[in-house]
């Protein structure tokens, strides 16, 4: 049945309900643990089940002591061996296969492929453990569009050539909200309770990045593009890579604390690092490089799934099922006359295999590549060394999100001036009516200047300590949520993603480090992009695969 009812009776009760709910919310707020903290004992977390999740270090750390591993008992051959099953490795494997090269083996250290786009599933929903969305791409990114069409994310093209996206995969409305000044506002750009002077600065910044989005260099290329290697080499833009984003903002008179928070949030969200740590070029790239167009979506729209980019991982994996070896550590490389010999240790069978491949792609983070090529004189070096911030991600099953006034639950929910970068609702893309518990995924970059110190601290922090921090964070915007949390799991990413520190993108030997060696060793990873996003990983894989396919 139907209908909102007649205009007289029912909206009166709607209003009454609104007033009483607001009253309740206010009361709830006043009685919230946050305000009564001093006199009330901390709410018990004993009812919350769960524990730590995360990458399995035991196998990976064997790389530090390869001498302890058994001698090879068998030999295998492959045309191409790919080390690393993140998006880059999968993308490379897919590209080789499409090009008719099927004798490819991919080694993955974990028991599942996907790298940072890991995901999980419980009785309530699938949920991400890392990367969780893809902005609708620039229509010039043909390779990516083709993949999305294969994955049924693009269902066709309109008469004017624009992709038509599967609406189940486009992020449903309402997309984003921000908890600021005790209120949930729509959108992430601070507005609620923001003074006029700050609003003007925010508007000036947004106008600037809008201009930069359309800007082209003297070479006719976009000032800011994805993949970033397609950006203009024009000095007027590239020079922005030499200074920090914070310096740039200071120089340009962007001082509003609201704007500065928003930009800090953006940098931490995309790079795991602060405007003081990343370059101005990178800080602006976040805003100016997104040029997606679609028949049925706006430029700012994103694609997302309950399991986050785990959906895209699965689509890539499906296209390349053959020859994926999980739980396998590559620990020694040696060039031979005909190719490369790689020793690999299978964590399941505890056996070592000698792989003989004509070509090897190292789709590994730079620190792993360095270790694997430790004996090689011309092994690629990155200077400055890539900075990887650790991340903490928590997935929580909650049977409700008590909140004060304002915008209801969105896909992305961010708290102003908080340490986390907010949480997303994993159940947001469900089309069924929301009944029962839901899953939320909280993202927390540990944006410390010293990444190693932050990493050590992150690993040493116990589950209970993380849980307390996560719950305290949520309680600020959702007073009374603690008893409603049924389950919480925490994942620490030691090397979350690369941060584009000043000079890393355009002042370093980044592109040189990606050059193949002697038509035997190839390199691809977002460390070689400097920006860790799906598009870059996807591009890196295709770039390296294309290099491999070139006649020697």
């Amino acid at each position: 049945m139907s209908k909102e009812g007649n205009a007289y009776g029912n909206f009166a009760s709607g209003r009454r309900e609104f007033i009483s709910r607001t009253g309740l919310a206010l009361t709830g707020l006043m009685l919230s643990p946050a305000l009564l903290h001093s006199c009330a004992p901390a709410a018990s977390l004993a009812h919350i089940k769960g524990g730590m999740r995360g990458a399995d270090f035991s196998l990976g750390h064997l790389l530090r002591q390869p001498g302890k591993l058994p001698a090879p008992t068998r030999t295998e051959r492959a045309e191409v061996l790919i080390i690393g099953g993140g998006i880059t490795g999968l993308s490379a494997k897919r590209w080789l296969q499409r090009s008719g090269l099927s004798d490819v083996v991919l080694l993955e250290l974990e028991n599942h492929v996907g790298g940072n786009a890991a995901s999980g599933q419980n009785a309530v929903s699938a949920y991400p453990w890392g990367a969780h969305y893809l902005p609708i791409p620039d229509v010039r990114n043909r390779e990516l569009l083709a993949f999305l069409q294969e994955a049924n994310v693009i269902t066709g093209y309109s008469a004017d050539g624009l992709p038509i996206y599967n609406e189940y995969h486009l992020c449903h409305d309402p997309e984003e909200r921000l908890y600021i000044n005790g209120h949930w506002q729509q959108g992430l750009v601070p507005e609620f309770g923001v003074p006029d002077a700050d609003r003007q600065q925010i508007a000036r910044f947004l106008a600037l990045v809008e201009e930069l989005r359309h800007a082209k260099g003297t070479d006719g290329l976009d000032a800011f593009a994805i993949p970033l290697d397609r950006s203009s080499a024009d000095e007027q833009f590239r020079q922005l890579d030499a200074i920090t984003f914070a310096e740039y903002l200071g120089r340009e008179g962007f001082s509003s604390p609201y704007l500065r928070w928003f930009l800090a949030y953006s940098c931490r969200d995309d790079y795991g690092a602060t405007p003081e740590q990343v370059s101005a070029w990178a800080g602006l790239h976040y805003f100016a490089a997104r040029k997606g167009r679609a028949h049925n979506a706006e430029q700012a729209d994103v694609l997302t799934w309950p399991e986050g980019n785990g959906y895209l991982v699965e689509q890539l994996r499906r296209q390349t099922t053959q020859g994926i070896r999980p739980n396998t550590l590559a620990y020694q490389l040696r060039e031979t006359a005909t190719g490369v010999e790689v020793l690999t240790y299978d964590g399941t069978t505890k056996q070592t295999t000698r792989f003989e491949a004509r070509k090897v792609l190292l789709a590994t983070p730079h620190f792993v590549t360095q270790r694997l090529l430790a004996g090689l004189a011309d092994a690629p070096q990155l200077t400055p060394a890539p900075h990887h911030a650790p991340w903490v991600i928590a997935n929580l099953t909650v049977d409700g999100l008590p909140q004060g006034p304002g915008q209801p639950l969105c896909w992305d929910n961010v708290l102003y001036n908080s340490q986390s970068v907010g949480y997303i609702s994993a159940t947001h893309q469900q089309v069924t009516q929301p009944i029962g518990p839901q899953v939320i995924t909280l993202y927390w970059p540990l944006s410390h200047p010293d990444a190693n110190a932050a990493r050590r601290e992150a690993y040493q922090t116990s589950y209970n300590d993380w849980l307390q921090r996560v719950v305290a964070e949520l309680e600020t915007a959702h007073p009374g949520i603690t008893p409603r949390i049924q389950h919480a799991e925490v994942w620490v990413w030691g090397h979350g993603m690369v941060a584009p520190t000043p000079g890393y993108l355009w002042g370093s030997n980044r592109q040189a480090a990606a050059q193949p060696l002697r038509n035997k060793l190839y390199f691809a990873h977002t460390d070689l992009s400097g920006i860790s996003i799906f598009e870059e990983a996807f591009y890196q894989g295709i770039r390296a695969a294309t290099e491999m396919l070139l006649p020697a």
Partner: protein, 518 residues
């Protein structure tokens, strides 16, 4: 004297014997209470079962007859009459006091509701019937017979007058039925308490009885407090009419209200229908489409757990299968079990052609592989983002796949007068999803101007395609043609298409209805 005098003949204390006055005072109180219970039972029965003349008449008859039984039974009570009387007061207080809350709570189990109602009425009547004869026997040595009869009945009738006046004027409007019932129960128990404390000869059992009295008062008092909370909880205060049923399911809050003229159903505080004019809404929902589908075999109804649209569909004998998908088993169960509601939907949900599925409509249509000749989409208005998804291009494209060639779909589409942009947004969204659309509307007094959109794979629909079933009260070929006319204040205007990634409709709907909430 054959009987042992119950009261010591000469008062020991000096001064006037005030005990008879006390007992006569209690006659007044118990008479008031007695009539109140009767009025509560009558009112509740007419609220819950309808037809107030019959209900009041049979309740009064049963109550008076039970009092007669009580009077007759009084002869079997001997011994310490005062002790009996006090015991009786406590029992009347408890039974009468909890009668209204008990009936409200038990209304859901309606198959045995009349039995429970008349059992309670009978029990109360018997207990009340025992009171006066017993009291007269207690007082028989105090007064001459003519004085006794005169005084007792005077107070009895004055109490009745008071009850009959304060019940409709003060109690129901101020306290509500539940608290009135509990309050008078407590008064009965209070009479027992006063007698216990003021009569010397109760000393032997005073202690234990006072314990019982205290426990009873506490029980009724707790009920009184709790009843108030329930009434707030059941939103009784938010409805102008008497709430006769309310239940929170995991999905929504269902409330039924009743006045002398109509029954109303509210979901989450929003009116779903009034029994006085729902026929207009449901005839208009079903017949313009069905009259054009003489060969229709299968129908899918989405939402509509009240079975009223199904009732209209069942007028077409050619239909072989009706699937109804409603999220809330609480709704469909209520409309399959409750006498009054089953009478309203004419047992539609119990019909062998009808299969009720309790599940999520979106999930269902993505899995269902049946081809339907008619889809009846009768969802709540798009007042939130979750429901808004059920009005999106994505959803309509799923429905498109379920439609047999030549089939039709009808979508309830909120008010084209109040929510003009919402209405046309739904129409345009259907068009964008590949449907030919025929928007129409009519006036439903309890809703105001209301709109629907007929949608088909082709534009072959005609308003006078086939015969209409007999007995319709609103829909005729003429009224269908009228419904197609949109005057300027409801005329089409450009809108966005409602997609999952813009939820344009929910935003229109908020803005359209916004002015009506302030």
């Amino acid at each position: 004297m054959a009987n042992q005098p119950v009261l010591p003949a000469p008062p020991r204390r000096a001064g006037p014997d005030h005990l008879p006055a006390l007992l006569l005072g209690s006659v007044f109180v118990i008479a008031t209470c007695g009539l109140i219970y009767e009025l509560i039972a009558g009112t509740l029965a007419s609220y819950l079962l309808g037809d107030s003349v019959t209900q009041f008449s049979t309740i009064i008859g049963a109550y008076l007859f039970s009092m007669g039984i009580g009077s007759w039974l009084s002869r079997f009570l001997d011994g310490q009459l005062l002790k009996w009387f006090i015991r009786l007061e406590i029992m009347v207080g408890l039974v009468g006091g909890i009668s209204a809350p008990l009936l409200f709570v038990l209304f859901e189990y309606v198959s045995s509701f009349r039995l429970i109602l008349y059992t309670l009425v009978g029990l109360t009547g018997i207990l009340v019937g025992l009171e006066i004869p017993l009291l007269m026997r207690i007082l028989e040595n105090r007064f001459e017979f003519k004085d006794l009869v005169s005084r007792v009945f005077t107070f009895d009738y004055i109490g009745a007058l008071l009850a009959s006046l304060i019940f409709p004027l003060v109690l129901v409007p101020q306290l509500g039925l539940v608290r009135t019932s509990l309050f008078f129960g407590a008064l009965n128990v209070a009479v027992a308490a006063v007698l216990l404390l003021r009569f010397e000869e109760t000393r032997s059992f005073r202690r234990s009885f006072l314990g019982v009295v205290a426990a009873s008062l506490l029980f009724l008092g707790a009920g009184f407090v709790y009843a108030e909370r329930i009434q707030v909880y059941t939103e009784t205060l938010a409805f102008q009419d008497q709430v006769i049923y309310s239940k929170s399911t995991p999905y929504q809050r269902i409330v039924l209200t009743k006045n002398s003229r109509e029954l109303r159903l509210f979901l989450n505080g929003n009116l779903q229908f009034s029994s006085s004019d729902e026929y207009r809404y449901h005839e208009a929902l079903v017949h313009p489409a069905m009259q054009a589908l003489p060969r229709a075999r299968r129908v899918l109804v989405l939402g509509g757990g009240d079975g009223l649209a199904v009732r209209e569909l069942l007028r077409y004998p050619q239909l072989q299968q009706i699937h109804l998908v409603d999220l809330d088993p609480g709704m469909t169960e209520l409309f399959r079990r409750n006498e009054m509601l089953v009478a309203l939907n004419q047992r539609a949900l119990l019909h062998p052609k009808v299969q009720v599925i309790n599940g999520d409509a979106y999930q269902w249509v993505r899995q269902d592989t049946t081809r339907y000749d008619l889809l009846v989409v009768d969802f709540p208005d798009p007042s939130n983002y979750s429901i808004g998804k059920l009005y999106s291009t994505s959803f309509y494209q799923e429905l498109h796949k379920l439609l047999a060639p030549g089939g039709l779909m009808v979508v309830q589409s909120t008010s084209p007068y109040v929510a003009r942009r919402s209405f046309w947004c739904i129409t345009h969204t259907l068009q964008a999803s590949g449907f030919h659309t025929i928007p129409y509307h009519l006036y439903v007094p309890s809703f105001g101007e209301w709109g629907y959109v007929l949608a088909g794979r082709n534009g072959h629909w005609r308003p006078d395609a086939g015969p209409l079933p007999k007995g319709l009260r609103y829909v005729t070929p003429q009224s269908i043609r009228q419904m197609l006319v949109f005057p300027p204040d409801m005329a089409e205007l450009p809108t966005d298409i409602n997609q999952l990634n813009n939820q344009a409709l929910v935003r229109y709907f908020e803005e359209d209805w916004g002015p009506y909430t302030h």
